[in-house]
């Protein structure tokens, strides 16, 4: 029987006294592209970070391919956190691209993409170089393979960030506001790369403020507010929605 790739049930997360996620549930199928929108502080980024356990969730469940990712057993009262090494194995299957790129500044773009291929995927050097070059070519950076991050523009750095994540051949790609730190004229080149990955059929969860992009590429858009999912629907359902909070939010970001 087929099951959703990602199953999130009743997820809770607090930072100190602040409850950031208040019972989030959502299923995401293979090949789906889901955008998460919502005001700052609504919990979008926290939700994304919980999926690869960069942030540990307190209560509830996240299953990827039917396996609970953060804990070793299902019983919420007696469950045990997974070890760092187990988490590393899971994370290798989940690609993540960060708002601030977080490239490794001491490595060239080729080495940035190769590191995971060599050390996690254990590819031979020749194969790793081949794959890394292939992905850097896919994101349009063939002429930058030997450049250090400090020698590239923000848009180029972010494209290396995407190449580094997809080169690992992840089950799903998590994109965390990947254009928010870019100058406006560099946003297009990064979104173009994402668009191509969507056409490849990559499963993606996209946290974004780019509404028109979200409605272009997504199968579903999820609107989050105050730690909960307010609406989950197709782009047209979302933009035709009468939901008051959503419309307030959409009106505010249009300005």
């Amino acid at each position: 029987m087929s099951h959703p790739l990602i199953q999130i049930k009743n997820l809770y997360k607090s930072f100190g006294d602040t409850e950031v996620l208040k019972g989030v549930s959502i299923d995401i199928n293979r090949g789906e592209v889901v955008s998460i929108i919502g005001p700052s502080g609504s919990g979008k980024t926290t939700l994304l970070r919980c999926i690869n356990v960069l942030t540990k969730y307190d209560k509830g469940s996240i299953k990827i391919d039917n396996v609970e990712i953060g804990y070793t057993n299902d019983d919420e009262d007696y469950r045990k956190e997974r070890s760092e090494n187990q988490l590393s194995e899971f994370r290798a299957e989940l690609g993540m691209v960060f708002q601030l790129f977080y490239l490794f500044p001491h490595l060239t773009s080729l080495e940035n993409v190769m590191l995971g291929l060599r050390k996690v995927r254990k590819l031979s050097k020749v194969k790793a170089v081949d794959q890394a070059k292939y992905w850097l070519q896919r994101v349009g950076l063939t002429d930058k393979i030997n450049s250090l991050p400090s020698e590239m523009s923000g848009g180029q750095q972010q494209r290396v960030g995407i190449a580094r994540a997809v080169a690992m051949d992840p089950k799903v790609l998590l994109l965390d506001e990947i254009t928010s730190a870019l100058d406006p004229e560099l946003v297009g080149e990064v979104l173009e790369v994402v668009q191509k990955l969507v056409e490849d059929g990559m499963t993606m969860i996209i946290v974004t403020h780019e509404m028109s992009f979200a409605s272009d590429v997504s199968n579903r858009i999820v609107f989050m507010d105050q730690g909960k999912i307010e609406i989950d629907g197709s782009p047209s359902e979302i933009f035709d929605s009468k939901n008051e909070r959503l419309n307030t939010f959409l009106a505010r970001i249009k300005k």
Binding site: G95, F98, Y102, F104, P105, K119
Partner: protein
């Protein structure tokens, strides 16, 4: 002047001891200090507390007191060391505390995002240390570390006070024989200066070498 020159071989023996003490102290202090520095950065709470207490305590006492404590104090609990060993042990303990802080500071200077990016591609903790944290921390670690080596070379003159015949004590002995202090001290000053000048040159070179890494 002639006396000073004729005693040069004797001073060179002293220099050799100074260099031996420095080298041993730097090797021990670097290995143990880096391990404990990683421990205080990422270790369990009990380890962080222990290392913190050790480091603060040692850095809070004069190194001469530490040298006397190891050489004259420890025999009271049955730990007897030769002067050379005692000197190396005492200076190492002192330097370890500095290397710990040095390491901790270098690690702390790395943006947590680098660590997360490493996590996200599935590197486990020790892989992240080796391939991301250490190379990035190295450029912050090296310049103060070299200063620390220079300090060790200079500070090692204190071991003459428990009778290790290093460059300092060799100088004192020559002066005791010749009653002509000035030429001997001039030779000694020049030797100490050359050691430290070489070190500070290499420190500047290294800083320039790692300047290309920006965050």
């Amino acid at each position: 002047m002639e006396a000073a020159l004729s005693s040069l071989p004797y001073l060179m023996d002293g220099l050799l001891v100074t260099l031996q003490v420095t080298l041993l102290v730097v090797v021990f202090a670097t290995i143990i200090g880096v391990i404990l520095g990683v421990g205080i950065s990422y270790g369990p709470l009990w380890l962080r507390i222990l290392v913190r207490i050790f480091s603060d305590f040692i850095r809070g006492i004069p190194v001469l007191v530490l040298i006397f404590f190891v050489y004259y104090g420890l025999p009271a609990i049955g730990i007897n060391m030769e002067t050379f060993t005692a000197a190396v042990v005492a200076l190492s303990i002192f330097k370890i505390s500095h290397v710990i802080e040095n390491t901790r500071g270098a690690i702390q200077s790395i943006h947590h995002g680098q660590m997360e990016a490493g996590q996200a591609i599935g590197l486990n903790f020790h892989e992240r240390l080796i391939y991301i944290i250490f190379p990035l921390a190295l450029r912050r670690f090296l310049p103060p570390w070299i200063n620390s080596v220079a300090d060790t070379a200079k500070g090692s003159a204190l071991v003459s006070l428990i009778g290790v015949v290093d460059l300092m004590l060799a100088m004192q002995k020559v002066i005791g024989r010749t009653y002509d202090a000035m030429p001997v001290y001039i030779v000694g000053l020049i030797i100490y200066f050359i050691i430290n000048y070489c070190l500070s040159l290499s420190s500047r070179k290294l800083e320039a070498k790692y300047a290309y890494i920006k965050e």
